[in-house]
């Protein structure tokens, strides 16, 4: 079944089309959700809520080429995850950082296998992890992150700086453990 056929079926509220859509994209969307909320149960809840929302609003979806459906679903999952996090965490802390401090590089981290990178990211505190995910993985700008989380742009920058520093610190700690 092609993507346009799948969209058409879902727009007609066909149970077969909806199940096909779920089977095709649920795994990757579950991984996206898990990267934000950390626990299996919460990620399942987010996937469920996201698909419910997608089935309800798919009539207003206009496909813009191949992959647009997945990108749309992914955006729904990210928004649902952010909503979930906003209800449980306070992102509203005003943090500032000295601009003269050097930005920690992620050269050592980026050479790690994907699973190890993911494991390190998952160990970050919720605020750092959210900003890191939004900026590095989703590609959001600091202004967009600030709007999404309801924080200032400088706070978003600070959170990303601290997230990178934290990752580097964890990597050094793990490296020393591996060395012993």
């Amino acid at each position: 079944m092609t993507e346009s056929e799948l969209i058409r079926l879902c727009q007609q509220a066909s149970p077969r089309g909806q199940q096909e859509l779920f089977d095709r994209w649920a795994d990757s969307l579950y991984r996206v959700a898990l990267r934000y909320v950390k626990t299996d149960v919460d990620a399942e809840d987010i996937v469920m809520m996201s698909f419910t929302k997608a089935f309800r609003h798919i009539t207003s979806f206009r496909p813009q080429g191949k992959g647009s459906l997945h990108a749309w679903l992914r955006k729904i999952v990210v928004n649902e995850s952010l909503g979930w996090l906003r209800r449980r965490h306070n992102f509203n802390m005003v943090e500032s950082l000295d601009d003269t401090l050097p930005v920690p590089d992620l050269n050592e981290v980026c050479h790690l296998p994907a699973e190890d990178i993911l494991r390190l990211v998952m160990e970050l505190p919720a605020g750092y992890r959210t900003v890191f995910n939004l900026h590095v993985v989703e590609g959001y700008s600091h202004q967009e992150i600030a709007e999404q989380l309801g924080i200032s742009e400088s706070t978003a920058r600070t959170q990303l700086f601290k997230a990178k520093a934290h990752l580097k610190k964890m990597l050094i700690r793990e490296g020393s453990q591996y060395g012993t």
Binding site: P15, Q19, F22, A26, D27, S28, Y30, R31, V32, R35, D40, A43, E44, V47, M48, F51, T52, D105, L106, N107, V109, C110, H111, P113, A114, E115, I117, L118, V121, H135, V136, V137, G139
Partner: protein, 213 residues
């Protein structure tokens, strides 16, 4: 975005396409359950509606049957009372009103002439009846015109109305019939059609005729 960040992004996105073990089926069932629940809610609502409508129809039918029965009883009572009055007026013969063995024949009354006492003399009675007042003691009194009482003519005659004997809940049934919904589903039901009461039924109830077996 830095090169290292792009590399991390690429690796993490690649990882998303890898299969993962999670409660996928359960999540799908949870996603589908509200739709099933909604369907079952509609089914329950429809069943409840059918029960309510059925009860209403049954109640209406029973009310109608009851009121029809009461009407028939009331009409029968009225006609029975009328027929009874006619029978009493038309045939005062006790043999027709009661069983022959219960009938009592009237006896002839022997009238006795009163006896007259003729022992006292008639003269004595005549003397006793003479006036004991002299003519000198008489006075003439002029008669005063006496005021006549005013008599008003009756404007209306009040009679005791003849009240028909109505037993049971006939009046209540008539009221209920006037207030109830005129909703009938089974028009062909013989119980729901009003049949005229024949005189023979009245006679049977009055005991004047035997009910045919």
């Amino acid at each position: 975005m830095e090169h290292s960040e792009q590399l991390i992004q690429h690796k993490l996105r690649q990882l998303e396409s890898q299969p993962v073990k999670w409660n996928k089926q359960e999540t799908w069932l949870r996603l589908e359950r509200p739709r099933r629940k909604r369907t079952s809610v509609f089914a329950y609502a429809a069943a409840a509606l059918v029960i309510v409508v059925g009860s209403w129809v049954l109640y209406d039918s029973m009310t109608f049957n009851s009121s029809a029965l009461h009407d028939r009883i009331a009409a029968l009572e009225i006609r029975l009372a009328q027929a009874g009055d006619k029978l009493i007026l038309a045939s005062p013969d006790p043999e027709r009103m009661c069983a022959p063995e219960m009938a009592v024949q009237p006896q002839e009354i022997q009238r006795v002439k009163p006896r007259v006492n003729t022992a006292l003399p008639s003269v004595l009675i005549a003397d006793q009846l003479k006036p004991a007042i002299d003519s000198t003691q008489r006075t003439t009194v002029a008669l005063q015109p006496q005021e006549q009482p005013t008599v008003t003519e009756p404007t209306a005659a009040v009679e005791r109305p003849s009240i028909p004997i109505i037993l049971g809940r006939s009046q209540g049934a008539a009221y209920a019939r006037s207030k109830r919904f005129s909703f009938r589903l089974i028009l062909s039901d013989p119980d729901l059609t009003e049949q005229p009461i024949t005189v023979s039924e009245v006679d049977i109830v009055a005991g004047l005729k035997q009910k045919p077996n």
